[in-house]
């Protein structure tokens, strides 16, 4: 893996069970207990984060809360305290920025750092990652896991490798062996449906994936196929983008079985809109444009968009537009994918709210 260009030093840092750990930090009685932060089990909510004690029962984030309750009836269910989590997130971000300006937060508890040229003159990415983890623990009493490598993709997989409270360094020499062992579902852009598709092709690990030619991958996954081809060879040129302004937020889902029932589609869109709402609220944003995405069974894809009368944030507000957009679609084929995206994002606090009559 030699190249004329300077090898980058990328760190991916991921807080361990972030919301749940904050709750355990603030409430000593919860320590050592299965803690679930998210919707209440009797409502339609989902698990946002759960402590490692809860994960032993098979509970994971995005699982419906009532399922989690069935798996672990004595778990402690807590409503998220977003204001507290946001505050802790700001403290952590400040620690990152004391090492480099090139910080790209992915969410409240996760970020990429490019420390090729760090502020404090520490030559080794490994040492910087160690220092950051120690600094986070000193400041917040919380643990983080870090992955260090020469691109974002490998750094991210590495941070997940020894979780919680782990540090994994993948050098260019180790990269190929490391990637060969990675299960394909960990690849960026691989969801349930793509995983199934890859499994059908006999691909379960990075090594299996590397046997496919770029033509074979492109014929099945078009543009994404080329991305997979590169990723599994340790090629990921995406830069760490500090000022990354989110232009859109979206959720989509591919169905195991194609659907043609429009009222079922409406319900699925409502669920997706709830996911988008959560995301908007986490980031304190509102949106001016709602986009509906549909992929039909023949892979033909359409998008329909509408500018909103006032900036939207809740699923309920989005649904007014999604229903109208759905009505406009000519449903001649079954649908394999539905997506909801919002665009023209703006800070919810910066603006003003036009009041409404009814």
């Amino acid at each position: 893996m030699s190249s004329g260009a300077l090898l980058r030093k990328i760190i991916h840092i991921d807080m361990d069970a972030f919301y749940a750990s904050i709750e355990q930090r603030d409430h000593p009685a919860y320590r050592g207990q299965p803690v679930i932060v998210g919707g209440a089990p009797d409502a339609r909510g989902v698990v946002a984060t759960c402590s490692y004690e809860a994960r032993r029962y098979g509970i994971h984030s995005t699982m419906p809360s009532h399922t989690a309750h069935r798996l672990c009836p004595h778990a402690i269910f807590l409503k998220p305290r977003m204001d507290v989590y946001r505050q802790v997130s700001r403290e952590i971000l400040a620690i990152f920025r004391s090492y480099t300006d090139l910080v790209e937060p992915l969410s409240l508890d996760e970020a990429y750092l490019d420390v090729t040229h760090d502020r404090q003159g520490i030559a080794s990415g490994t040492l910087i990652a160690r220092a950051i983890r120690e600094n986070i623990y000193r400041t917040t009493e919380l643990t983080a896991s870090a992955g260090v490598s020469y691109n974002k993709f490998i750094a991210k997989i590495a941070s997940d490798y020894h979780k919680p409270n782990g540090l994994t360094v993948i050098t260019p020499e180790q990269a190929q062996a490391f990637l060969d062992a990675v299960p394909v579902r960990k690849f960026f852009g691989v969801g349930k449906v793509t995983e199934q598709r890859l499994n059908q092709l006999g691909v379960h690990t990075g090594e299996d994936l590397r046997r496919l030619t770029v033509e074979e991958l492109s014929s099945v996954f078009s543009d994404r196929g080329r991305v997979f081809y590169n990723l599994v060879r340790g090629i990921d040129p995406r830069p760490v983008e500090p000022e990354r302004i989110r232009r859109s937020i979206g959720k989509e889902t591919t169905f195991a079985v194609d659907i043609d029932d429009v009222s079922q589609m409406a319900r699925i869109l409502e669920d997706l809109a709830r996911g988008v709402e959560q995301n908007l609220k986490h980031r304190a944003l509102r949106a001016r444009v709602v986009v509906l995405k549909i992929k039909f069974e023949n892979f033909r894809q359409i998008t329909r968009r509408m500018t909103t009368a006032t900036p939207v944030q809740t699923a309920e507000e989005m649904n007014v537009y999604l229903r109208r957009l759905l009505e406009q679609v000519d449903m001649r084929a079954k649908v394999r994918l539905l997506g909801v995206t919002v665009q023209n994002l703006q800070d919810e606090a910066a603006g003003s709210i036009q009041l409404t009559l009814f």
């Binding site: 500018t307 009368a309 709210i353 036009q354």
Partner: protein, 380 residues
């Protein structure tokens, strides 16, 4: 078809019906205007399936020379936009139109155009509207109904009924109401109706009414208004205007208008408009075009700011001030639209609170009012 007529008569009729020619459509025939010449009548019509306009030219043998000669009856559809430009530029005041199959020759002076016409049998039929029971209103009164309300309809298609103007006839009063859910405008007129014409409601697309206002004569020509079969028909002079109606339930707006107030001002709409326009210059880039009104017994302070550009403050004195001091923010465009629709020398604005609707109306004329919901300013 073979006809001869005055260029200006034809141009004027074409300009009227072309309001119903779509700018974009998937059916090319709709780009056309239909000519039908029979006996001593030439009918021009256009119909984009939402709005239809038909206007009639008659040959009157008593005028000399006759303004319209129909030498051979027939019909043809010609591309409206090209035709208007062509007719406007013709060199002579008379135009001769000859149609052989679909090939149409237009002659005037020494100019000859040969155009490919379209088959009139493919042109959509205008809707049939029963014109038995209707209302009769002067054209300028109808224009006032439209001008004072239609600007408040919703632009967004999210709630289709709000893109229309609600027509209500009850007890000798015809009321037009429009709202986009952030503001509401109503105008009432008194008008007699035939027996049995009572509690009539319909939702007319705001776009249709704005087109209608453009073709209505600005005088007291009588307009007859008919509602039937999901269609509105308005006839005036030799012109008939059709519009589809909007299906659905209009929200109940009967209890929305507040009957009490905490602060009221009377103010000259012209000078107040200028103040708001100056403040709006810095508000146009923010989402709700927010201007703030700080209403005090001594004066009104109007202000607006843009974080990137800067800010403006201006004070003005209302003619009268009643009630308590209040700070309220609202969309400058809503306020300007409402002020523009108030032609009187004095308007009255009644405020109930910074979080509730305020009412703008004429001091002398109770027949129209505008309701505006404020903007809640989140930060600072």
């Amino acid at each position: 078809m073979r006809i001869v007529l005055e260029k200006n008569d034809l141009l004027h009729s074409l300009q009227t019906v072309s309001r119903a020619v779509p700018t974009r459509t998937t059916k090319p025939i709709l780009y056309g205007v239909k000519f039908s010449a029979h006996q001593n009548i030439l009918t021009l019509s256009a119909y984009d399936l939402e709005i239809g306009i038909e206007t009639v030219l008659t040959s009157d043998p008593s005028t000399n020379p006759p303004i319209l000669q129909i030498e051979e009856p027939g019909s043809i559809v010609l591309h409206a936009r090209y035709l208007i430009d062509i007719i406007r530029k013709l060199p002579h005041h008379l135009v001769r139109i000859d149609v052989q199959d679909l090939t149409t020759t237009i002659r005037s002076g020494h100019a000859t155009y040969t155009l490919n016409g379209m088959d009139p049998r493919e042109y959509p039929q205008l809707p049939k509207v029963d014109n038995q029971a209707g209302l009769s209103v002067a054209s300028d009164t109808l224009m006032r109904l439209i001008d004072h309300t239609a600007f408040s309809v919703a632009v967004s298609e999210a709630r289709p009924t709000l893109t229309g103007v609600l027509w209500t006839y009850r007890e000798g009063r015809l009321v037009f109401t429009a709202t986009d859910s952030h503001r509401l405008s109503t105008q009432t007129i008194e008008v007699g109706a035939p027996k049995g014409y009572e509690n009539v409601e319909a939702i007319i697309p705001g776009k249709s009414l704005l087109e209608l206002a453009r073709v209505l004569p600005d005088n007291d020509t009588v307009c007859d208004l008919y509602l039937a079969d999901n269609q509105l028909l308005v006839t005036f002079g030799s012109t008939s205007f059709y519009s589809r109606l909007i299906d659905g339930r209009y929200p109940d707006v009967s209890r929305i208008i507040p009957s009490t107030w905490r602060t009221a001002i009377n103010i000259d709409p012209k000078s107040f408009t200028e103040c708001i326009e100056r403040a709006a210059l810095l508000a146009r880039d923010n989402d709700n075009q927010v201007v703030r009104l700080n209403l005090r017994k001594t004066h009104i302070e109007i202000s607006s700011h843009s974080p990137e550009i800067g800010k403006i403050t201006e004070t003005t004195e209302p003619n009268t001030f009643e009630g308590e001091d209040m700070l309220i923010a609202c969309n400058a465009k809503f306020l300007l639209d409402a002020l523009k629709a108030s032609s009187d020398s004095l308007v009255r604005i009644e405020f109930t609170g910074p979080g509730s609707a305020f009412v703008l109306k004429s001091v002398q004329d109770e027949s129209h009012l505008h309701l505006i919901l404020p903007v809640r300013v989140v930060n600072s």
